[in-house]
Symmetry: C2
Subunit: 257 residues, 2 copies
């Protein structure tokens, strides 16, 4: 594993402690790390990319600990730039994170962190998204500890093309974590509502708010693993085809034609 060349990105921005703690831990197991991350927070940007404006790259020193590249773009932009314009050699692994807060259930669709890993998967690189599940009190150390231990036992070259792992580590001390479970993306989602306010000129504007809906208590569900004190590891794909609906509609197609 010493020879893994690792690209790190995130959606909280290059100055987030989630990156610097991950770098500190990864240095124990590999020598080649390149950090390319958004210059500012880009949470909830989904899989956005920048196509109408150019991208700027700025070399920055992060806490005097390491040099990284700050980009005025999204996590997906950072991965593209890192692989095609910045990395002198091949990238062996893309890690997006450590995110401040969980990416469970339908969060996956909105998450810039997960899209960083999906972009790596699109580029046919083994890719992992990592989140510490409490946005108010993240435990980046225990998430970073999990990542290096996981890389010691799991050979990332075994990840098939166009797939990635979405890892959520409970925000608790490492020795209190019960273990890890391979899980499925649950239907954990939000019941949204909007708070309407008036601006000083009498116009209405809206703040989006939401309550979490957790109604998927199966053993394999991502959020149930985390709630039970386990790391959740969900294998995800860049392909969204619904296989069951595909087969049903193929039947329908035959009757219509």
């Amino acid at each position: 594993m010493n020879e893994l060349r690792i690209l790190i990105t995130n959606d909280d921005g290059i100055m987030s402690p989630g990156i610097s703690i991950l770098v500190k831990y990864l240095k124990r197991v590999t020598r080649e790390i390149i950090v390319v991350a958004p210059d500012i927070e880009r949470s909830a940007t989904g899989h956005a990319i920048t196509i109408r404006t150019p991208l700027w790259i700025k070399e920055v020193s992060v806490n005097n600990e390491f040099l990284g590249y700050a980009v005025n773009g999204t996590p997906a932009d950072c991965v593209k730039l890192a692989i095609h314009a910045l990395s002198k050699g091949k990238i062996d692994l893309v890690i997006s994170g450590i995110n401040r807060g969980a990416n469970l259930g339908t969060d996956i669709l909105y998450s810039g962190t997960v899209s960083g890993a999906l972009e790596g998967a699109l580029m046919e690189k083994p890719s992992i998204a990592v989140s510490s599940t409490d946005s108010d009190n993240p435990n980046f150390e225990s998430a970073a500890e999990f990542v290096i231990n996981f890389l010691r036992i799991f050979d990332v070259k075994n990840l098939p093309r166009f797939t990635a792992l979405n890892i959520n580590v409970p925000a608790m001390p490492y020795n209190e974590i019960k273990g890890w479970r391979i899980t499925k993306q649950s239907k954990r989602r939000y019941s949204d509502y909007f708070e309407a306010r008036k601006d000083p000129f009498g116009n209405t504007y809206y703040w989006m708010l939401g309550e979490i809906i957790e109604d998927d208590p199966s053993e394999d569900s991502d959020y149930m693993a985390v709630k039970s004190g386990y790391v959740s590891i969900t294998p995800i794909s860049v392909f969204l085809t619904d296989q069951k609906l595909f087969e049903y509609l193929k039947e329908v197609e035959r009757t219509w034609h």
Copy 2:
């Protein structure tokens, strides 16, 4: 079908002809249409949502043909606002489009149009994304004609929860289209590269460019349907779990524990 209450959004912006032509055609088959779309173009925004700033809604007359709501947000924001803050009654169907240009293969991940439909699916509404496949010479009329004919033969209530249809209509006259095929999201993707330039102050900036890779010529592939003159209809899901990798890792998990 006369009773379907249809929400329309897109990512090209409320003033795009893709919306006004779709509205004109849909009026033939339903009386209740609400248009809630981004105030400006939001292409390639993926499934971004707006969480750090409030949203503004402005009622606008589009070409003096209909009233719609323009929002300073993404397609996903528009769907949330439409369902939770604007629509007085229930929405029976969300249509995102008609997009100017194809959304095939891995475009699905970047597409604001598709994310509008996926947001509808998350809200448990039957949802459809529609694109006319040529961004330089779209044929919105033939795509709109296909939509109303499809709605006549297919009851959208048959779409399972959390799924949507991604429809790509070849940009050609309606009577030249050969038919339609149920397809899978192909691995059509881009080989990206960056063009570096210097600004007047000597700093380097980058434009992202890409060449399409089409190496998935199976009968079921979305782009092959379109290339052969057929409408491509791909059933998609908000769940990204890779079932095959899940099963493999579950096996690995058993040996490790």
